[in-house]
């Protein structure tokens, strides 16, 4: 009997929940806002699905209903990816330690 590949994906999913659980508990509370903006950015990796949909058409029909939804999703996800990572970077650059000479 072969194992359904779904089971492997499910295993990855469950183990990742546990990893997420332990990793997020170790995030310092003062960085909870950057945590939210960076999770925003990384969950936009959904763009891979959008790209597949967008490139599905052949050379005659680049634009069909399915690929148009794909294109729109690409733009939405790209807003999040660029916006999310850049705003996180902007925030993190502001966190500074006390100057030593004080």
């Amino acid at each position: 009997m072969e194992i359904d590949p779904f089971i492997f994906r499910l295993s990855i999913f469950i183990l990742s929940i546990f990893i997420g659980y332990y990793v997020v508990w170790s995030v310092t509370p003062s960085l909870h806002t950057p945590l939210m903006s960076v999770t925003n950015a990384i969950s936009s990796v959904i763009i891979v699905g959008a790209i597949i949909a967008g490139l599905a058409g052949n050379s005659d029909t680049i634009f069909n209903t399915s690929s148009i939804f794909g294109f729109l999703a690409i733009s939405l996800a790209a807003i999040n990816i660029f916006g999310g990572f850049l705003v996180t970077q902007r925030m993190l650059a502001m966190y500074k330690k006390k100057k030593k000479d004080k």
Partner: protein, 465 residues
């Protein structure tokens, strides 16, 4: 063209990089490196997708154009947005993740061949279930985040909107989503797919409208979690490891944040979700509405008190964000420090409108993060401090949470501000806070009320120091 196995390995690598991105946030020193890992992970995922499809014709150009448009908009927003608007921004971003998930699900439903899921009207059962879950959760995330955004932005009133039969209606809609998913999977009817989406959009609206403004930290965290589960659902459909890992990470991250926020208010998750808090509840203390004497002062008095103190603790809250007073506050603290007064900041977990909101604002104003403390770290220090400077916070300092079991906020962890020798309370008026209850702190012997705009008052104090 990249082989399926090789691209799967690259997706795994980008998943691992995303884990490291979150891991980096365990301290401010490693956080910037973490963000960098995240960016690399994203670049790998996108590049591998292009290579594995191997289609670099006109379609590729169109994809790049859409990518660029989105990227430019995103970058523009990221540079322009003021730090005080961070909760709105995050809510807006959540809605985009939700909508993107919905769009990808629609694209996959209309053209399953492109995703190896079967043919239209004959989509593999497992994929169809995963797709419906991803689409439904995505739609809920989208419409819920839009409401959260409107409430935070002030376009929609922050007060809870409740109506009769709200909970039965919501329950009915949630059940109908499950039924629709079942019917969709057994009939493959595209009409049912559209109805499922419409109903999911509707429930997103309905779930968030009864939740009030100050509960937004929980709502935002919860929507964060939903956006993760939506991504994971799509990840299963696409059989993509990076997406599954990320979805799980984001989902559990949002869930933990919701839990922390609920604990900060001593309320159960369901209590927050069912909403209506602050609209209907009448507390016991609000019944004795007789005028109690309040000591109020001006900037001069406040400056005098602080000048003679040896240690000051600052308690910021949402009002500081509204008044944009963080820079003025830091200037005041600089002056205090020049007079050899020890200053620290005390942050309540639910201060502001999202987790960590106050920390970001203080960081923006160049306050070193090692002067900023969480509730448990600093609560014992209030007894030894000379002055507590409460700026824009209210309910999180209310001693009633410790003394009056009748109070709606009883049991909520609060900052022990009243133990300070004297308390300076910057506030516009005596109006009660979000929870609708009077703050006993206003009437304490050692409290001096400073009725003014937070920013203006802070500037005036600095002048008088």
């Amino acid at each position: 063209m990249l082989s399926a196995n090789l691209s799967a390995i690259f997706y795994l690598i980008s998943g691992v990089l995303f884990i490291l991105a979150l891991r980096g946030l365990s301290s401010p020193e490693t956080s910037r490196q973490g963000n960098f890992f995240g960016i690399i992970g994203m670049i790998i995922a996108i590049t591998v997708t292009f290579l594995s499809i191997g289609n670099f014709s006109t379609g590729f150009i169109v994809v790049l154009i859409f990518l660029l448009i989105g990227g430019l908009i995103g970058a523009f927003i990221a540079y322009k947005i003021p730090m005080t608007a961070m909760p709105e921004l995050v809510a807006g971003f959540h809605s985009l993740v939700g909508l993107a998930a919905v769009f990808v699900a629609i694209a996959a439903f209309l053209n399953p061949e492109a995703f190896n899921l079967g043919s239209p009207g004959n989509i593999k059962l497992g994929s169809l279930i995963e797709m419906s879950i991803g689409a439904a959760v995505g739609a809920i995330t989208f419409s819920g985040s839009i409401i959260a955004f409107l409430k935070l932005q002030g376009i929609m009133s922050g007060s809870p909107i409740t109506f009769k039969g709200q909970h039965p209606l919501n329950a009915f809609i949630l059940i109908s989503i499950i039924v629709l998913t079942y019917l969709l999977c057994s009939t493959q009817s595209s009409n049912l797919f559209w109805i499922l989406l419409a109903v999911s959009f509707l429930i997103g609206f309905l779930l968030i409208i009864p939740i009030g403004g100050a509960d937004m930290p929980v709502v935002i965290s919860m929507l964060n979690s939903y956006s993760g589960w939506a991504a994971a659902g799509i990840g299963f459909t696409l059989e993509n490891t990076a997406l599954i890992i990320t979805g799980a990470l984001v989902g559990s991250s949002g869930a933990i944040l919701s839990y922390i926020m609920c604990k900060g208010m001593n309320r159960s998750f369901f209590n927050v979700i069912l909403g209506g808090f602050g609209a209907t509840e009448q507390s016991s203390s609000s019944q004795n509405k007789e005028q109690r004497p309040v000591k109020s002062g001006n900037a001069d008095d406040a400056a005098f008190l602080m000048k003679n103190a040896s240690s000051v603790i600052i308690v910021p809250g949402y009002g500081m964000a509204v008044a944009q007073a963080q820079h003025a506050l830091r200037e005041m603290v600089d002056t205090l420090k020049k007079n050899d007064i020890k200053v620290s900041y005390a942050i309540h977990p639910v201060a502001g409108r999202m987790p960590g909101h106050m920390n970001v604002l203080l960081a923006e104003a160049n306050v070193p993060y090692d002067e900023v403390f969480e509730l448990e770290e600093i609560n014992n220090d209030f007894a030894n401090a000379d002055v507590a400077f409460v700026i824009g916070a209210n309910d999180v300092t209310n001693p009633v949470a410790k003394t009056d079991p009748q109070s709606p906020i009883y049991g909520m962890p609060v900052l022990d501000v009243e133990k300070c020798k004297s308390v300076l309370f910057v506030k516009r008026s005596l109006s009660p806070g979000y929870a609708g209850i009077d703050n006993d702190l206003f009437y304490k012997e050692n409290t001096l009320m400073l009725f003014a705009d937070a920013k203006k008052m802070t500037e005036d104090i600095t002048k008088n120091l």
